[in-house]
């Protein structure tokens, strides 16, 4: 079922955006959401006390061993990755961005804005997951890739592009979860997956509301307007088919009860990895290709050329929760 149909409302609401059945307590129908304004989501997604990646990793996994380095230039602390043990699933590869909890940590981790070597470390770990047939779990939380001149000189654009390319063809299941802020290409470089989930108050945008306001409204103070226009809130992303399901947060937001949030993430993750684990890898790759192939809205006036909804891969039925 493609995005156009979804936008026209030709979808069974019980199937949310049609990517996932309702299971694992995921929100798959935006209509069921207690609405917040996009601007409120921006605030919550950036909330300093919101559980950050390392805290989430500690809560999600039995054991975690961090692996360092891109094998070419430097170990970037803004990207944290390694091997972890997940209850009932076994070993997985985890890759995430890490913001700091303190100013010192933020400086060390460049506020969760990775350098090219960070993305190259991520690529190395993606390939490790593929080589050893381990599922890949990514946690996304970044204002964006680091924009400094050194990052430009070392190929920020190439590193992001390569990371996305590798993920599109990686021969192992991938679950990507937007934890907080999904900042443009710097986030996408970790967010190509078979299933993409977002926390209920996460945001994911092509540009920060401030950036868009500065360019389109010529005033950074219009950030709230931009946030509304950009449809960057999780509920919008669900409607647009960019994320497949939302992980509920406590009423006051994730930071009011990190433990409950992490528990919700964990149960969602286990269910999704179990589902994907039952899909033959070749089908997984075609489905991943189709997932992105159908994102976007185009109008093609010539009769008969408007893309029709693709029939679901055969394994979709057998993935209904039993």
């Amino acid at each position: 079922m493609d995005v156009v149909d979804r936008l026209l409302g030709n979808k069974k609401t019980t199937e949310g955006n049609g990517h996932l059945p309702e299971d694992a307590g995921l929100i798959t129908d935006a209509a069921l959401l207690t609405q917040r304004t996009p601007w409120q989501s921006v605030q919550l997604a950036r909330e300093l006390k919101r559980p950050h990646s390392i805290e989430v990793i500690d809560g999600l996994f039995e054991k975690f061993q961090e692996l360092h380095g891109d094998r070419g230039y430097r170990d970037d602390p803004a990207i944290v990755g390694g091997i972890a043990e997940l209850d009932g699933v076994g070993p997985v590869v985890v890759v995430t961005q890490q913001r700091g909890a303190t100013t010192e940590e933020n400086i060390e981790r460049s506020f969760g804005m990775p350098y090219p070597e960070g993305y190259r470390k991520a690529i190395r770990l993606y390939r490790m997951a593929e080589k050893f047939h381990l599922p890949l779990v990514t946690l996304v939380d970044t204002p964006g890739a680091y924009p400094g001149p050194e990052a430009e000189e070392r190929g920020q654009a190439e590193a992001i592009a390569k990371s996305i390319l590798v993920m599109t063809g990686l021969q192992t299941p991938i679950v990507a979860i937007i934890l907080g802020e999904g900042g443009s290409g710097g986030a996408l470089a970790l967010a190509v997956g078979d299933v993409v989930l977002a926390l209920q108050n996460a945001i994911y945008s092509v540009i920060s509301p401030e950036g868009a306001a500065a360019i389109l409204w010529r005033s950074a103070t219009e950030a709230e307007k931009a946030a509304n226009a950009l449809k960057l809130a999780a509920s919008d992303l669900l409607k647009l088919g960019i994320v497949d399901g939302l992980i509920p947060e406590p009423a006051g937001g994730a930071h009011t009860d990190p433990q409950a949030t992490i528990t919700a993430i964990k149960s969602a993750l286990i269910v999704q990895l179990d589902r994907l684990g039952r899909v033959p890898i070749a089908d997984l790759l075609s489905a991943r290709y189709e997932r992105y192939r159908h994102i976007g809205v185009v109008v093609e006036p010539l009769p008969g050329t408007v893309p029709v909804a693709k029939k679901q891969p055969f394994w979709r039925k057998m993935l209904r929760p039993t």
């Binding site: 995005v3 156009v4 936008l7 890739a145 680091y146 924009p147 400094g148 001149p149 990052a151 430009e152 000189e153 070392r154 190929g155 920020q156 654009a157 190439e158 992001i160 592009a161 390569k162 996305i164 390319l165 993920m167 599109t168 063809g169 443009s184 290409g185 996408l188 190509v192 994911y204 945008s205 092509v206 540009i207 868009a212 360019i215 389109l216 409204w217 307007k225 931009a226 226009a229 950009l230 449809k231 960057l232 992303l237 647009l240 960019i242 991943r288 290709y289 992105y292 192939r293 994102i295 976007g296 809205v297 185009v298 109008v299 093609e300 006036p301 010539l302």
Partner: protein, 279 residues
């Protein structure tokens, strides 16, 4: 000499002044020279249609997906509604969106060609550009031919929000299949290419060409210099700078582009491969 006075003597619709050497250039002559200054080789920007004419064998270009136009998935409006911006750009540029795609021949090699048009909303990439480039890659895969993408873009199109961002993954998914099939993908980066376009297909060609002095960067130079609060190194984000840093194979001036691309098309042509070497 005082160009201020000079310019008066040159009606601007007929003459253009070269920003590098100051020469006043007769527009028709400039166009005949593919927008390259006849005196100092300064490369002005070149329109998408002129670019195609420059690159392909005479009359060999067959355009595809000509009627594909943008929707308004977000109901986006800033100072103007998005659909209105699109209509204005269509009127101004005479194109439906920021990419022109088709099948062509270069030195008798059939290729799929996609050329971005900076004149259309700054060459920004939304769903239409994503769809057209993806189809071009899929056609190359189906026809077992090479793909050439000519980039000129400010990046992803804000007015389609995160859907524009997703076009990066959509196109790269298709390029990954091309790569798996050992089919050549050539990237030609022209002035300017930045943001999400550089951070996806533009940076991943088997061979990457750039035009002289083209602006090539991920973040806008403004953002970048603000990040460190200092001036940027000379030539920063220019083609020659990017070449030195290892991200471009060759900086090629416009006059040689076609022949240069043909060289690699011929070298990588399946015919040129010795079947005895294949597994």
């Amino acid at each position: 000499m005082p160009f201020g006075r000079q310019r008066k003597e040159f009606p601007s619709q007929l003459w253009t002044q070269c920003p590098t050497c100051g020469e006043m250039l007769f527009n028709k002559q400039l166009a005949r020279n593919h927008n390259v200054c006849t005196k100092c080789d300064h490369h002005f920007r070149l329109g998408a249609r002129e670019r195609i004419e420059l690159l392909v064998d005479k009359a060999s270009f067959t355009e595809h997906d000509t009627d594909l136009v943008s929707g308004d998935p977000l109901g986006f409006a800033d100072q103007k509604p998005y659909p209105q911006r699109v209509l204005q750009s269509q009127a101004k540029s005479g194109e439906k969106d920021a990419a022109i795609c088709g099948t062509a021949h270069i030195d008798e090699n059939q290729i799929e060609l996609a050329v971005m048009d900076f004149d259309f909303m700054g060459g920004s990439m939304g769903s239409v550009v994503g769809e057209k480039l993806t189809r071009a890659a899929e056609r190359a895969l189906a026809n077992r031919t090479s793909l050439l993408i000519v980039s000129a873009s400010g990046g992803a199109r804000m007015q389609e929000g995160t859907l524009s961002l997703m076009q990066m993954a959509k196109i790269l998914g298709a390029l990954h299949r091309l790569d798996e099939a050992d089919l050549p993908y050539f990237s030609l980066i022209t002035d300017p290419t930045t943001g999400g376009v550089l951070a996806s297909f533009a940076s991943l060609g088997d061979i990457i060409f750039a035009e002289p002095n083209a602006l090539i960067g991920f973040s806008g130079a403004r953002v970048t210099s603000e990040t460190i609060g200092e001036k940027l190194p000379k030539g920063f984000q220019r083609a020659e700078f990017v070449l030195e840093h290892g991200f471009v194979d060759q900086v090629v001036s416009r006059a040689q582009l076609r022949e240069r691309i043909a060289f690699f098309l011929n070298a990588f042509r399946p015919g040129a491969r010795d079947p005895r070497w294949s597994l």
